[in-house]
């Protein structure tokens, strides 16, 4: 089990290999379908983004509401492939890592190799368990999107697996 502290450096990324189990600590930003669409359109139009994505790790998640006394509600990963259309543009803007579940398309993998990025898989459906490693949640942008807004999560020993490394190797079994 490797312990990783964010932000990710190029040296750390180069040392991560498909299949490695990791515990991630530090801060990540969240974003899924609707937020990706907005960020992508801003990039296409050459407009500034509401949050900096350079050097960041993005977690594909739409959390459930937090009960009183909880930092965040259950917050497991959502399917990553739906973000594939938008991902290369974000990687070109300096995004270094992604946390989600399931497969990625070839364009994403090639862009990860080109930009030196890594894709982690968290366990889909283990949301109550995963949320125990999320200590803090702050709204960053797109409040109107509700659960799809962009948050900053502070995580401690967040459990994940290197699903696709920066060399393009994958541990996911695909059809």
């Amino acid at each position: 089990m490797k312990k990783i502290t964010l932000p990710l450096t190029d040296d750390v990324i180069k040392d991560l290999h498909a299949g490695d189990s990791v515990l991630i600590s530090g801060t990540v930003i969240t974003g899924r379908d609707a937020a990706h669409k907005r960020l992508y359109e801003l990039i296409q139009n050459g407009e500034p983004l509401p949050v900096s994505i350079e050097g960041e790790v993005i977690y594909y998640v739409g959390p459930a509401p937090a009960k009183p006394g909880h930092a965040v509600g259950p917050a497991g990963p959502t399917s990553s492939y739906r973000m594939d259309k938008y991902t290369p543009a974000l990687l070109d803007r300096g995004l270094k890592g992604m946390i989600g579940k399931g497969a990625r398309n070839d364009e994403v993998v090639q862009s990860m190799i080109k930009n030196g990025a890594v894709y982690f898989a968290a366990i889909g459906g283990a949301a109550a368990l995963i949320s125990r490693s999320i200590r803090k949640s702050e709204l960053l942008a797109y409040e109107d999107l509700g659960t799809e807004a962009i948050y900053r999560f502070t995580v401690e020993d967040f459990p994940a697996i290197v699903a696709i490394d920066t060399y393009g190797n994958s541990v996911l079994v695909t059809g």
């Binding site: 459930a64 509401p65 509600g73 509700g146 059809g175």
Partner: protein, 283 residues
């Protein structure tokens, strides 16, 4: 038989309890299957994933938080007795209110958008629910409810096979659909299959099949055997828990059927994640 009056508030309360309960407490059919799979899983990574899923169920149940953040779109199959009259409101409104209260008071995620293509604005209370009602003899209301996550819903498919395709064609379509889904729908999955009827009837049957406990079989021994055969074949595909490899790709295959047209053999495959949440109640 006398007409029985049921207060709309009773319907609302019943629906609310169903959705809160199913989101916190997985059924014993799924939990038993996960435990059995954990014992038998060939891959160490897969074994570990299954252990975490079992642990996740313990946490969700004891803390009364949702098992999965995707608390789904609410789907209800209602058998409505023809001697029931609703007092103080309408049945439809009472059901939608129950869903609304469950998702707001139960800290469940609101995942429904008002318009599928253009607006996509969150309705903020997870309504509307999808309600299928059939009128049956009697003075009771039976509700079979599920909350369907879309990671797996998106991997589902319907195909209008024709009679010459035979059982081999049915098997191939089911296997192709599971193969295409691969690691995406949160394996180990539950595969709901609807065969027969019309285009939409097959799809509805496949949804209903995902809501049937996986420790039960189709009453027709030929379909029961097909359920077993498909489960074995799917578990040889190697996707494994979370798609990270292993011998547990599915926990169950449920088939539901209906008579169909001389020219047709519709088949629908509704894929459900391992958090196959369903509960029923009778009023």
């Amino acid at each position: 038989m006398e007409i029985r009056k049921i207060n709309a508030a009773v319907v609302t309360e019943t629906v609310k309890k169903l959705f809160m309960d199913m989101n916190y407490n997985i059924g014993s059919d799924i939990l038993d299957a996960l435990k059995k799979a954990q014992e038998n899983e060939s891959s160490p990574v897969g074994k570990n994933v299954l252990e975490q899923l079992i642990e996740n169920h313990k946490i969700a149940s004891s803390e009364e938080v949702p098992i999965c953040q995707d608390t789904g779109m609410a789907v209800l199959f209602v058998e409505y007795g023809d001697h029931v009259a609703i007092d103080n409101g309408s049945f439809e409104d009472a059901v939608q209110e129950g869903v609304r209260q469950a998702y707001i008071d139960g800290y469940l995620r609101k995942s429904i958008v008002s318009d599928p293509v253009f607006d996509r604005i969150n309705t903020r209370d997870n309504t509307p629910a999808v309600i299928y009602t059939s009128i049956v003899p009697g003075n009771k209301i039976h509700i079979l409810a599920g909350c369907k996550g879309f990671g797996s819903e998106n991997m589902s498919s319907v195909k209008m096979l024709t009679p010459s395709a035979g059982v081999e064609g049915v098997k191939k379509f089911i296997m192709d659909t599971v193969k295409y889904a691969g690691p995406n729908p949160c394996p180990p999955i539950v595969v709901g299959v609807g065969i027969g009827g019309t285009f939409e009837k097959a799809a509805m049957l496949s949804k209903k099949a995902t809501l049937r406990p996986i420790d039960t079989h189709n009453p027709d021994p030929r379909y029961a055997a097909l359920e077993n055969e498909l489960l074995d074949d799917i578990n040889k595909m190697g996707f494994g828990p979370a798609g990270l490899g292993g011998s547990t790709t599915a926990l169950g295959v449920n088939i539901e059927t209906f008579p169909t047209h001389i020219a047709g053999m519709p088949v629908a495959v509704n894929i459900c994640c391992h958090a196959a949440r369903h509960k029923e109640a009778e009023i």
